[in-house]
Symmetry: C2
Subunit: 318 residues, 2 copies
């Protein structure tokens, strides 16, 4: 890629996350290509539409949409917004759409979500992780509801720059610059693993309890029992993180708790998955942190009880 050319961006999995960031980047002038599956025809006909509480209605039409990765041009950046439950299966499409030395960025929650994909990727591709601080969900084919926030924090996971901190840092900064050019907050993170644990402080309680208790953030934050349970679950995430060598300050959890109180009412993504009978992201958000903590000699019983209950719900859709 020439230094004077804007990077070409491919979106693998154009759901709420991929669709939102793809539209924002395309509207900022980037050359963005969207890989779609079931929604391909609808998006070709109607385009993509983001209904944002913050930015108003943003539409993108025509969309550079593809039903197959083979038809995509080689992309410098590939943004993966698909569910973690599919990561390994996405490898062929990613490899197909990747320019030489491309940067693959997983915009996903959970711990160790890169591992299954990394095993399937050639060593020549960079793999990065991105944590999205955003309230967004898919309302219909190509239709995205954006309720609040939008920041993305990036970290380098693995690839040709693994042994070269200056290069990996430069790549992460390059990625963050893309999002900032689209008007979004974006920070480079030194330690992706620590950042993933930090994100779990929110995801572990709110995602799971929304499905377990069929409740969005407002009622969960209004009831004394669920408030206490949320705080207990947050404490266990801090314990697990610390056991794995990532000390997250107590104040960070308190701050997340308070900011959730002041957020507009929100149904976490796991509840949308439950509602649409999609598999829940239990491995990334629960099993992986539980296993990591246990390997470090630390039990997290309330998280485990929540995980066990969610496994039952995932199989029985109750």
């Amino acid at each position: 890629m020439g230094a004077d050319r804007k990077p070409r961006i491919g979106i693998i999995g154009t759901g709420a996350i991929g669709g939102f960031y793809g539209v924002m980047l395309a509207r900022a002038g980037f050359d963005v290509h969207f890989l779609l599956r079931s929604e391909f025809s609808a998006v070709v006909e109607q385009g993509l539409r983001v209904n944002s509480a913050q930015h108003g209605v943003l539409s993108l039409k025509p969309v550079q949409a593809y039903a197959s990765a083979e038809e995509m041009p080689p992309c410098d950046w590939l943004l993966v917004g698909a569910k973690t439950t599919n990561n390994a299966q996405l490898a062929p499409a990613i490899i197909q759409a990747a320019a030489p030395g491309a940067k693959v960025l997983l915009l996903q929650n959970g711990l160790d979500v890169e591992d299954a994909l990394r095993a399937e990727l050639p060593d020549t591709l960079h793999l990065l992780g991105g944590l999205c601080f955003i309230c967004v969900h898919r309302a219909g084919p190509g239709q995205i509801e954006h309720q609040a926030l939008g920041a993305v924090n990036l970290g380098y996971h693995s690839g040709p720059a693994s042994a070269d901190p200056a290069l990996s840092q430069a790549l992460v900064e390059e990625g963050a610059a893309l999002f900032r050019a689209a008007g979004l907050d974006s920070q480079a993170m030194n330690n992706l693993h620590q950042a993933r644990w930090q994100k779990l402080v929110w995801n572990v309680p709110y995602n799971g309890l929304s499905v377990l208790l069929k409740a969005s953030t407002t009622p969960l934050m209004a009831d004394p029992a669920s408030r206490e349970l949320i705080q207990d679950l947050m404490q266990e995430v801090l314990l697990g993180a610390a056991a794995c060598g990532h000390v997250i300050p107590e104040a960070y959890a308190q701050q997340l708790f308070r900011s959730t109180e002041h957020m507009p009412d929100y149904w976490p993504s796991m509840y949308h998955d439950f509602l649409h009978q999609r598999p829940l992201e239990l491995t990334a958000i629960y099993a992986a942190p539980l296993a990591a903590a246990r390997a470090a000699g630390c039990e997290l019983p309330k998280i485990q009880a929540l995980y066990q209950s969610l496994c039952f719900i995932d199989r029985h859709h109750v």
Copy 2:
């Protein structure tokens, strides 16, 4: 009461438990009087009917039914099958219906369920606790479905025989003899508190999870995640009991777990309460054991997470 007269029995709260045992005792020839509230007229007209998988259809008609305790004759034994959530409010009716020196028997689950009632009773009344090993539920006004089992184990709680082990033991044996005369297994227990902890080994996992996961015993015993959670919760009950001085052998929990596998599919009573939007018995089955264990320095995190979730459900009916 003369030694030659069969004791007169009053049933306070003729739901599934009170109705079943009252009908069994009446059919065995005891003089049984039933206090009813909303179902009074239906029971006067149609009688009481137990549809039992074990005993066939048992009906009782006419029923000695009362809408008010003031109309009841003085009873030697008062069997209380109402929900624990109402114990303190039942005191006036119990006092009204009690013969001098009457025995009040709480046929209820949970820990410390006698305490709220004891505070309202005169010292002259004996208070006993009974643990029912039975699968029974109310199918309609005066209609009781009996699926399996029926044993009642009794222990002395408090009253004029508190300081007289021989007398309290004799009273407990007298109570057990009533049930045995009605063809039911019944054992005297030396230690009511220990027996209540033992019963919790079943009630803590199955009652709560039936409401949390909207599942009866068969699916709960078929899924690996819920099986593991049930066993973990049972282990915590054993820990709590041991901290309170009641050592329950590990084999007891294993035996309960296995026997539940071979039980007919069963919806625990808490699920019926949930379904009919009655208050859940969370204090007796969860809060009291959690508080007792905590007072003994023992945390039970999975039981606590289950309790916190059930408190939310109890208030939101989700």
